[in-house]
């Protein structure tokens, strides 16, 4: 039974937010961090209180880095029981996720690679006006508390208010894992509901076990891990690439679809291999109703190296139920008009990826699906959008009679920052706000 009254709503409910603000914080004093937290807990929505019919217009989420837990006063014995990848943090493990070259933490913005990063307050708002009001309110709150500083912040807003699209123009949010116990039904073609232990600590997972938890259990139960990524999208470079490799507008659209695995409308290439079908794209009962093994084994519709086929190989990979993640976030930066040249402004996607194991779920996806050049025997390819591209990798588009191979794919995105956070349950937030000695407990004996 999911304790929805103790789980932060973030990974359970997709809110109707069209704007957001991320505030990355540092606690200069433990007591100040705890006071800041204590005053905000009641504003954090739970899985129970936040629903699609909710009249709320803003939704607050709070999460902490390992350094942040220490800054709040969690004792060393307890800190050591957190998994190694979380303790090290994303910047220390950058090579594993492919954050090298232009993506290296040395190049990151917003002090996200700094050990001073302690917490993130995620604010989702129904609109930009509400976001601005909440931002000011938080500023006033911080100045009252003192000794809690904003290291950096990021404003997000929908660039196509009518529908979720990112800067390259692709429709977003077309598939997400359905979590067992939420009552949600999996749409046709989607995997059956995934055990809650794949997302929340303290529950049975798809390995039929309840993995060891950080101690004390009250601190970790109903919690999740979040991997944050700020991914700049080079829209000008992407459009130049399409023009360079395809003649007509239709051919450019087809090439864009081949890189993604879906048309920009969201229609999947497996079901619409020749021509876009916008009605299919938006129909959530149909848009995921396909597989690769039987319907497109050689990738004549959706290339084996296309983004969606790498990030979700469906029936063509093992243990898929153990690699599921929940993504929350949105677009930042202004829309680059269709006919406008690259303006040099930063725009992209900034998202949190939620799971129960950063190493098994998030890092696996980045290390293997995204960046392994030998994925599915492709030989010399990486994910065309999220992979670490430096002009030395290719993209193969299977075609009859002869395949098309594009050599030296440019980078369409750059990682501008990232971090690992722990998203505690509500009881755990209260415990953290109360501070030691509530947090001191001997770890479970591991022999």
């Amino acid at each position: 039974m999911l304790e929805v009254d103790d789980i932060q709503h973030f990974l359970l409910t997709r809110t109707p937010a069209l704007a957001a603000r991320y505030e990355f914080l540092t606690f200069r004093k433990s007591a100040a961090g705890r006071a800041w937290l204590a005053g905000l807990i009641d504003k954090v929505g739970t899985g129970k209180s936040v629903g699609s019919a909710s009249p709320d217009s803003r939704w607050v989420t709070l999460a902490f880095t390992w350094n942040g837990l220490r800054a709040l006063g969690v004792d060393e014995v307890s800190l050591e029981t957190f998994p190694e990848e979380f303790r090290q943090g994303m910047a220390a493990r950058a090579e594993i996720i492919g954050a090298t070259g232009a993506n290296h933490p040395d190049q990151w913005v917003g002090e996200l690679a700094s050990p001073a990063l302690h917490a993130v307050a995620v604010l989702f708002a129904r609109d930009v006006g509400e976001r601005e009001r909440c931002k000011k309110e938080h500023d006033r709150y911080l100045s009252r508390i003192g000794d809690v500083d904003v290291l950096s912040g990021l404003d997000l807003e929908a660039i196509h208010p009518g529908e979720p699209r990112e800067h390259f123009g692709y429709r977003d949010r077309l598939s997400h894992p359905v979590i067992e116990g939420t009552g949600e039904e999996a749409p046709p073609g989607s995997p059956p509901p995934i055990k809650a232990g794949e997302f929340f600590l303290g529950y049975l997972d798809e390995g039929s076990s309840r993995p060891v938890m950080p101690q004390p259990e009250i601190l970790s139960r109903n919690g999740s891990y979040l991997a944050y990524l700020r991914l700049q999208e080079h829209v000008g470079a992407f459009r130049d690439f399409l023009r360079q490799h395809a003649q007509t507008l239709d051919e450019q659209e087809l090439l864009a679809a081949k890189l993604m695995g879906r048309w920009r409308s969201g229609a999947p290439l497996v079901l619409a291999p020749q021509k876009d079908d916008p009605a299919l794209g938006v129909d959530l009962q149909r848009t995921n109703n396909f597989d690769y093994g039987k319907m497109d084994p050689y990738g004549y519709g959706c290339p084996v190296g296309a983004h969606i086929r790498r990030m979700n190989p469906r029936d063509t990979a093992d243990n898929m139920q153990r690699r599921q993640m929940v993504r929350r976030g949105g677009t930042y930066g202004s829309l680059l008009a269709e006919d406008a040249p690259e303006d040099g402004a930063e725009r992209g996607i900034a998202a949190f990826i939620g799971c129960a194991s950063l190493i098994r779920q998030f890092e696996f996806a980045m290390n293997v699906w995204v960046n392994d050049p030998r994925f599915k025997d492709l030989g010399n390819e990486r994910d065309p959008f999220v992979g670490t591209q430096d002009g030395t990798f290719d993209m193969t588009i299977p075609k009859r009679p002869v395949r098309k191979k594009i050599k030296g794919l440019p980078a369409f995105t750059t990682i501008r920052g990232g971090a690992y956070f722990f998203l505690p349950g509500i009881r755990a937030l209260r415990l953290l706000a109360a501070g030691a000695p509530a947090l001191v407990q001997k770890p479970r004996k591991v022999s």
Partner: protein, 202 residues
């Protein structure tokens, strides 16, 4: 009778800087530094080990708990039967060969588990552990000294044990270097198809 003159000096290992991974006709050897890799590359669970002319692989060596040799040997038969019933159960690991060996060092008995496969162990390590559990291979591991008793709920501890007991090769050789099991099976399938065709043409 001709005799070979064996040099008293150890052979200098030839480090192949850029192994030719495409020419399977030319047998190759690769000497590997003590660390087990040429270039430190961080994998999720530790350093990544290179692909060699003998593909990817591991050699896990650990001391067994006293008095468990009989149970370990018995397990060999169980695994043989399990695989006969479900021959493709280990397919996700893209294996060529697995070898289980028991041997003595002084008064102690040691276990060696050696695998040759086409995937990078670090990349698919959780899949391997899940399969060890599914097929019961872990019941052998439970007889090894130092194996974590909470392995069922602590996969990272299981993986740490494997990593700590992995002994990298210092030299590996491939008669048909870098050829994957998939490629071998494809070639054999083709050979069988040709053979069938020739039989039918008679």
């Amino acid at each position: 009778m001709a005799t070979h003159v064996i040099s008293k000096e150890p052979l200098e290992p030839q480090v192949v800087e850029t192994p030719n991974e495409t020419d399977w006709t030319k047998p190759q050897a690769l000497a590997i530094p003590k660390e087990g890799y040429f270039k430190a590359e961080q994998g999720r669970y530790g350093p990544m080990f290179p692909r060699t002319p003998a593909c990817h692989g591991f050699t896990i060596i650990a001391k067994i708990k006293p008095g468990t040799e009989g149970e370990i040997r018995q397990y060999g038969k169980k695994l043989e039967n399990a695989l006969a019933g479900a021959p493709h159960v280990l397919a996700p690991l893209q294996l060529h060969y697995l070898r289980w060996v028991l041997f003595d060092v002084g008064q102690d008995k040691y276990f060696m588990y050696q695998g040759i496969f086409d995937t990078d162990f670090d990349k698919y390590t959780e899949d391997a552990v899940a399969l060890f559990t599914q097929t019961g291979i872990n019941t052998i591991f439970e007889k090894l000294e130092g194996f974590p008793s909470d392995w069922r709920t602590n996969v990272p501890a299981f993986i740490k044990f494997l990593r700590e007991h992995q002994c990298p090769s210092f030299l590996e050789y491939g008669e048909y270097p870098y050829v994957t099991a998939v490629e071998i099976k494809k070639a054999l399938k083709l050979k069988r198809a040709f053979s069938d065709m020739l039989d039918q043409m008679q």
